[in-house]
Symmetry: C2
Subunit: 445 residues, 2 copies
């Protein structure tokens, strides 16, 4: 019988549920012992459920001795920590020659470990969640196919959104928080950069949500799509440096972007300063502080201020949030963004019975070997099972779990800093994901 | 005869001309030796002109030994260095118990030296230029007057601009660079914060230049005024914590703000990223990169994009800059703001014969002891003499020179970190400034 392999999972938060379940479900067959480490033992026990192959531990990432002990004991480490905390783990993995897998973007610090990791014979696998992760794998599969069949890619657009399953979608925004609310409030800050028909395009934040486009996913209807901050840097990653059109974007339900623009124009998504005595203000008083002088109620002034930039649908969304109601903000010394987050966390709370939904769509345009113009739409929709095994937890966690299994089985030869854009990885990864309902629907015309 | 006093002036750039001239003109009578220190000996010699009381030296602020030697040799140090370089000087001043004067805002580091400076018996005088500087002195004189006569200040608005003398104002923007161009391009980034009739007001950068107001300075016509980033923090400094209306702003010629908004809305004042291959683009191609898709020339698309936000006057200003002409940008790997600066430095260059102009206006509203509503307008206009003795150099440098003289004469008792808001300072300072034509015109009604 083969030797027991030890897996160390650091972080047992909400997005680790499907990851840990997959590992435990395969532990017997693969002869694994799975150490699940978190500051909260309760969070760990909720996920491990006394499974005989699990080893729950209380873990402090800043305790160097414990970190070294646990990493040296493991065969592979999966870090579900926030991105900025991976480096201590990565350095220990290098020291003790252990593989590492994360769902985070390759940071500069991580990239710098590439050569040392290759020399140590370990893989530092990153960007292996949903976005980044499944997007890389599924896009590269089609891009490689097109190139190998003698085709030429002329346009690649890719969109992803963490949304709410339609039957649970009971508010006018069509949105609830299924991940970090702060990131949703601050989404898009900076300047969106992409390329369109050979021309660089820049959309500053102040008009980002006025320049959204509408995309359709067959069987799931239409979505607003706004451009992500940086699409240009993906060209070398996908080996399409000279593609004329390349844009990545975020999906929301139709009408969301137009309404969100009201907050952007007002200045309510600003996180750079604190509002004095914010806890003493009501929401209409807050609006007044951002609106030019004028007569009438906050609502009337807002309508005048936005002019043609706000329609009745957007106004209804704003009104539904209670911004015209005479209630106190109730949060002290807060930035505009923090006040908005406080309000939305209440209004956009995912309820016990709610299910989330992940939507991803890649749009490829290419000329085939016969120089004919072709289009491929590749779409993924995943609905969560319940508040624990959400679509988000599934699509972020399963790729890491699957890759961990493949690495421990010796099926992955890549070493050094790696992301799932190579055939060796994406073929088995996408195959295994399909067994869990994470399956792209392709349409070509 | 009194002992010789040694003055160390660090920095002999453009804004030091009037400062050094005042010191040299009083050197004989006051028995001063004036060391002028700069990395460029040529810059020093241009200012000192072999004056018998001058001692020109080549100086490297990062040479600790030289810095210590020169500061320990001086009786007072005037630092004309960029604000972030004052701290090394201040620490040496503390060590060797020498007075220090700067025209910069009190930084946190500087503020922290207050107690130690008092114990050492030295004054660390800051914010003693134009803005901050003359604004503090002239405003406090009137605020103190109102309070001492039993009045109550209800509104204080203060505006300042570094402009071009009307007879040299030969371009449609009514603007040329009389100080750091980069600061002009980036002016207003962030959120303007002020208070109006007891209500906090916030104007985000994306609409700052659409919400300018018009002020009039008698005999000098009208000006656009846009709100500065932070007006709220001035309330404690002026001892008017509970004033219902307080705003500080920047002056430009009428129409400037509406036209500048075109750049803000496009995104051309953004300094946070680089435009790829910027040197290969023409100006219309640059505009295209920021404009939504559409038919027609860059000019036609811009007109459509801006809609009612751009009038014919603004369009003429944009056109005059050559943005619709088919010429290359000619600056590589530049941010949008850097590209705009490159263009404007060419178009808005102060010519040899041009004179600059400083305009400042304070607007006070108060109730006098008899509870009558009164208004005071206090306005300053200074025209430069020539390209060396500019209005900017005069108004920034003379306050420092005058205060240096008063400190060496033993007339200033304040010690520790000080700004010119007290009577001991502002009364003699404003009196002496008047001799140089820096004189506020007051009007009360």
């Amino acid at each position: 019988m083969e030797e027991t392999k030890n897996i160390l999972v650091i972080g047992a938060g909400r997005s680790s549920s499907s990851l840990i379940k997959y590992l435990l479900d395969h532990a017997e067959e693969e002869n694994w012992e799975i150490t699940v480490a978190d500051v909260s033992l309760e969070a760990v026990r909720q996920k491990t459920q006394d499974h005989p192959h699990s080893r729950p531990i209380v873990f402090d990432i800043h305790n160097e001795q414990q970190r070294a002990e646990e990493i040296s004991y493991a065969d592979i480490v999966i870090s579900m920590l926030p991105a900025h905390m991976h480096m201590d783990v990565a350095n220990d993995c290098l020291k003790y020659k252990k593989h590492l897998a994360t769902a985070s973007y390759v940071s500069k610090g991580m990239a710098a470990l590439d050569l040392a990791a290759k020399e140590a014979g370990i893989i530092l696998l990153n960007e292996t969640g949903l976005d980044p992760g499944i997007d890389h794998a599924s896009a590269m599969k089609i891009i490689d196919d097109i190139h190998e069949s003698g085709g030429e890619l002329t346009s690649f657009k890719s969109f992803c959104g963490g949304l709410v399953s339609p039957e649970c979608n009971d508010n006018p925004w069509g949105y609830k928080f299924t991940w970090n609310p702060r990131n949703v409030i601050l989404a898009g800050h900076g300047t969106a950069q992409y390329i369109d028909k050979g021309q660089y395009k820049y959309i500053p934040y102040n008009r980002l949500f006025t320049q959204s486009e509408i995309i359709e996913v067959e069987g799931h209807g239409k979505f607003d799509a706004y451009a992500n901050r940086d699409s240009l840097s993906y060209r070398p990653i996908y080996k399409i440096e000279h593609i004329p059109t390349m844009v990545r974007g975020t999906l929301r339900m139709p009408g969301y972007c137009k309404a969100w623009h009201v907050f952007v124009k007002l200045g309510l998504t600003d996180d750079s300063y604190k509002i004095e005595a914010s806890d003493t203000l009501t929401y209409p008083e807050l609006l007044d502080a951002f609106l030019p002088d004028g007569d009438g109620t906050a609502k009337e002034k807002l309508v005048r201020f936005m002019g043609a930039e706000m329609d009745g649908d957007s106004l209804a969304k704003i009104e539904w949030l209670g911004l015209f109601e005479d209630t106190k903000i109730g949060v002290a010394n807060a930035s505009p963004a923090e006040i908005l987050q406080h309000l939305l966390e209440d209004k956009w709370k995912l309820q016990e019975h709610d299910k989330d939904m992940i939507v991803m769509q890649h749009q490829f345009k290419y000329r085939n070997a016969a120089r004919e113009a072709r289009t491929i739409l590749s779409s993924l929709v995943v609905i969560g099972e319940d508040p624990v095994y959400t679509a988000m937890a599934k699509t972020v966690g399963l790729p890491l779990a699957i890759m961990t299994r493949m690495i421990l089985q010796g099926k992955i030869m890549a070493r050094g800093v790696t992301i799932p854009t190579t055939k060796e990885i994406y073929v088995p990864l996408l195959e295994e994901l399909e067994k869990f309902g994470v399956k792209f629907q392709e349409k070509e015309f």
